[in-house]
Amino acid sequence: MTEVLSAPHSMEFPYTRSTGPMVGAFLTGLRERKVFGVRDSSGRVVVPPPEYDARTAAALPHDDLVEVSPEGVVTSWSWNPKPRLGQPFERPFAWALVRLDGADTSLLHALDAPREQIATGMRVRVRWADETTGDIHDIACFEAVR
């Protein structure tokens, strides 16, 4: 039986993506250290704002966004014991779904807080990146509100 060979193989692509007006408006907001959502046909403020209404399929207005607070409540969280390449932190951290004040849906991001202090319902706020460029990483992570 011949020894089976193996070799490391990496797949890399640079990808530049056009955002379109809605995602573009959301990211422009992040660059300005603001978080925007959009009101849909049911009256809910959805963050991040989708391009189309989930119920009616109508285009949602990217030029009529609703600003929400950078502070809100953890609606769910999980612990990441083994961070992987590209994730927000290189040491174990928490993921969280955060419903910002004024929004009716939750935003997914990392939560930097001691594990024993994390709980659904805790109040958190955005920690902005030192330099914002118009990218989801303009939110460095969430942190606990003391």
Partner: protein, 167 residues
């Protein structure tokens, strides 16, 4: 906030992707690569249609049947088609123009892509008989790149009928 961004709305983002794998070629291809390390071209024959595949991938792609019999093919063969390349691409840097070709090694029913050297673009032709030029033995790895290129040998051109099936 970066002053350079100004107040222009965001229109694009850069999202690099990188995934890492540990690739295993499987049984048939591993055997082929081991053969190359020894300076041999090892193919497999389909028990149903009788064709010899180099390199073998585990099954005959025409019949959907597992290969069994191993067949060693020669490192001489026939250039069945070629292209004269005038543009470099990606990270390759070869003197232009160069000739890229498909060679049917003697004993194989499937061609292999090779670099062709030792003949000018005016003189290269379908049916030209060639031999593999291997790298120095101490540079051999588990790789088809052990064959640096093919070059013409002093034999009459192969008849079209003898290689048309491989085109």
């Amino acid at each position: 906030m970066s002053a350079a961004d100004g107040s222009k709305p965001v229109k694009g983002i850069v999202t690099p992707i990188r995934l890492d794998y540990r690739y295993t070629p499987g049984a048939a291809q591993s055997r082929f690569l081991h053969g190359l390390k020894e300076g041999r071209l090892l193919g497999r024959r389909c028990p149903q249609c009788g064709k010899v595949y180099v390199p073998p991938r585990g099954g005959c792609p025409m019949c959907g049947v597992e290969f069994a019999e191993e067949v060693e093919v020669a490192d001489t063969g026939t250039l069945v088609t070629y292209a004269v390349v005038n543009v470099n691409f990606a990270n390759r840097v070869i003197d232009l123009p160069y000739i890229s070709g498909e060679v049917l090694f003697d004993g194989s029913d499937m061609t292999s892509m090779v670099l062709v050297q030792g003949v000018s673009p005016d003189e290269v032709r379908m049916g030209m008989r060639v031999r593999a030029h291997w790298l120095p033995r101490d540079e051999w790895d588990y790789s088809f790149t052990n064959i640096d290129y093919v070059e013409p040998i002093d034999e009459p051109d192969a008849d079209y009928e003898s290689f048309k099936e491989a085109l």
